[in-house]
């Protein structure tokens, strides 16, 4: 089985330095695109490969790039940003790539920047990833030294600067327009679209923001071709995917597998199945902001279309398992506390709605819930749903809630009827 993204990553070992990385074929794609391909050819190749954004939205990467103004009339300054602000609860896949092979990310960024003719690039890294910050700083310095960054790269006249920016903590920064505000030194509120960042992004200039895993696919697509990449996937979606599992399984972890690997295979073969004494009840397939899936969904392939057809989203592809000894109300309360805390406060439904949802859930968890609270929660899943808020944070927050009300309704009602938590575990939100 091919594992292009993680083939040179050995847990616990220092990542390859530039020389070692070159020795295994590293930076070949930079040579190829700069010397043999036009930016339009790179865009088309990536579009044809059907690479879809690995940050959660799943938009075709080449198509995303194609909205950037090109040619002599395009603005002189354009930006490429790597979104390394991994903060979706339950998600730890980009950390593997950032700590394990920083040069692969840099190589992908140079390819992407060339494709849109950007001359300035940033890695927007989450503050908590201290080891990644050290490795990326080192890798950027090596890449400048070797002439892969800076002026006149490989003698081709192409010029690209790269800087590392570490954030100071806020979930909103993962949303691409909010990330741009954070890079500009502002509050990370999302921006209205249009204008889209491709046209008016960082400092008002055309900007592409791509997820780390997305960028890490690029060198391999350039080197091996679009058809090869499509062939890596098991179903309609191309490439490999870093899937993860956390919760009460025997071997939690993160594995690069063919896109479209069935959920059951990931859970049982790779994560080792449930720990002894724990039974499976449900899972969030791709982070905190995705709808629950349950037993009946376990044979679905983990690809964008299949998970969407089941009423959820593949999101980041890192699953969180709900077991039978964890209270579903407490589980959802924990999620809603996170979203309420991380709401930027810009629009009213999100700012006021999420704390209200949290209060309702806390009351139910404590055994103080009333039957009408169920309707109030149902109402919020609509009121904070798509189209009613400024960005996707609140609608994302409602995904696990609405599906919990569907699949675990009896557990919620039991709390209300019996006036206590059947698990006797009332979660106390932090502050």
């Amino acid at each position: 089985m091919e594992k292009p993204l993680t083939q040179h990553i050995v847990p616990g070992r220092k990542p390859l330095n530039l020389k070692e990385y070159e020795a295994v074929g590293g930076y070949a794609s930079v040579r190829k695109v700069l010397k043999e391909l036009t930016p339009a050819e790179v865009q088309n190749l990536v579009k044809d490969s059907n690479l879809r954004g690995r940050g959660g939205a799943g938009f075709n990467t080449g198509l995303k790039w194609s909205f950037v103004p090109m040619g002599p009339d395009a603005p002189a300054t354009k930006y490429l940003v790597a979104n390394a602000d991994e903060m979706e609860p339950g998600t730890f896949k980009d950390r593997v790539l950032l700590e394990g092979n920083p040069h692969q990310l840099l190589e992908g960024m140079i390819v992407a920047a060339y494709a849109i003719q950007a001359n300035i690039s940033y890695v927007f890294l989450r503050w908590a990833y201290k080891l990644a910050a050290k490795e990326i700083t080192q890798a950027i310095a090596e890449a400048y030294e070797a002439g892969y960054l800076g002026k006149n790269i490989l003698g081709t006249g192409y010029h690209l600067e790269m800087h590392l920016h570490t954030g100071v903590g806020r979930y909103m920064c993962g949303e691409e327009t909010a990330l741009l505000n954070a890079l500009e030194g502002k509050r990370a509120n999302p921006r209205a679209k249009p204008p889209f960042p491709q046209v008016s992004g960082l400092f008002g200039k055309p900007t592409i923001v791509n997820n780390v895993e997305t960028l890490c696919c690029l060198p391999h697509i350039i080197n091996n071709g679009a058809e090869w990449f499509k062939g890596l996937g098991k179903g309609p979606d191309a490439g490999t995917k870093l899937y993860g599992v956390s919760g009460r399984v025997k071997s939690p972890g993160c594995w690069e597998l063919p896109m479209g690997t069935p959920i059951r295979e990931i859970l049982e073969e790779h994560a080792g199945g449930m720990q002894d004494g724990y039974l499976f009840r449900g899972l969030l397939p791709g982070g905190a902001s995705t709808d629950f899936l349950v037993e009946e969904h376990l044979d679905l392939p983990m690809d964008y279309g299949s998970i969407q057809a089941a009423g959820s989203r593949m999101g980041t592809g890192t699953m969180i398992i709900l077991d039978d000894q964890t209270c579903p109300v407490g589980f959802v309360l924990n999620l809603q506390h996170f979203f309420a805390q991380e709401s930027c406060g810009f629009c009213t439904p999100c700012r006021d709605g999420l704390p209200w949802v949290e209060r309702l859930l806390l009351a139910i968890d404590k055994g103080e819930g009333r039957p009408e609270d169920m309707q109030a929660l149902e109402f919020h899943t609509k009121y904070l749903g798509p189209g009613n808020t400024f960005c996707a944070l609140a609608p994302g927050a409602m995904e696990p809630l609405q599906s919990a009300l569907k699949y675990f309704r009896e557990d919620f009602e039991q709390h209300i009827v019996e006036h206590h938590c059947p698990w006797s575990t009332v979660w106390q939100p932090s502050i």
């Binding site: 730890f92 570490t166 996170f338």
Partner: protein, 154 residues
């Protein structure tokens, strides 16, 4: 007053972006690194240096979780309280920290050694529960390990 070294470091960050204001978060990080937290007077000094009003800079400073606008201890404990750590029972770790340190979330020990804060997902969910102290990440935590971990910090 910003020190010469602080000014030098902030000027470097300003050189990487189109406006002085755009470097304000980096400037806050630099000052916090030196002083532990951002006091009202530090805020005013940074604001003036990057051409912002103190109120505007405060709107940025208070937005982000890791800019401290109140004094913190010599070491800050950030305990993950998000979903995977919740499922894996981080509350035992939290309660043990409460008891051994004699403080709750948002508080600092009397000797100024530790501040304890809750933190959103640390991105190491396969090794839950997890916490960070300063720049150090600790994973797969058990109560038994805590004493040895805490003893590293004076």
């Amino acid at each position: 007053m910003l020190t010469a070294e602080e000014k030098h470091q902030i000027e470097h960050e300003i050189s990487l972006v189109p406006t002085r204001k755009a470097a304000c978060i980096e400037a806050l990080k630099i000052v916090q690194q030196n002083r532990g937290w951002i006091s009202d007077s530090s805020l005013a000094e940074v604001a003036e240096f990057v051409d912002m009003s103190p109120a505007e800079l405060d709107s940025v400073a208070t937005f982000y979780n890791l800019i401290f606008r109140r004094p913190v201890g010599r070491h800050v404990i950030l305990l993950c309280d998000s979903i995977s750590c919740y499922v894996m029972g981080y509350e035992i770790i939290r309660d043990h920290l409460y008891n051994t340190l004699g403080i709750k979330y948002g508080e600092t020990t009397g000797d100024g050694r530790f501040t304890l804060l809750p933190n959103a997902c640390l991105g190491t969910c396969d090794c839950a529960p997890a916490l960070m102290i300063d720049n150090d990440l600790y994973r797969n935590l058990t109560v038994e390990q805590l004493e040895e971990i805490l003893n590293k910090y004076t």
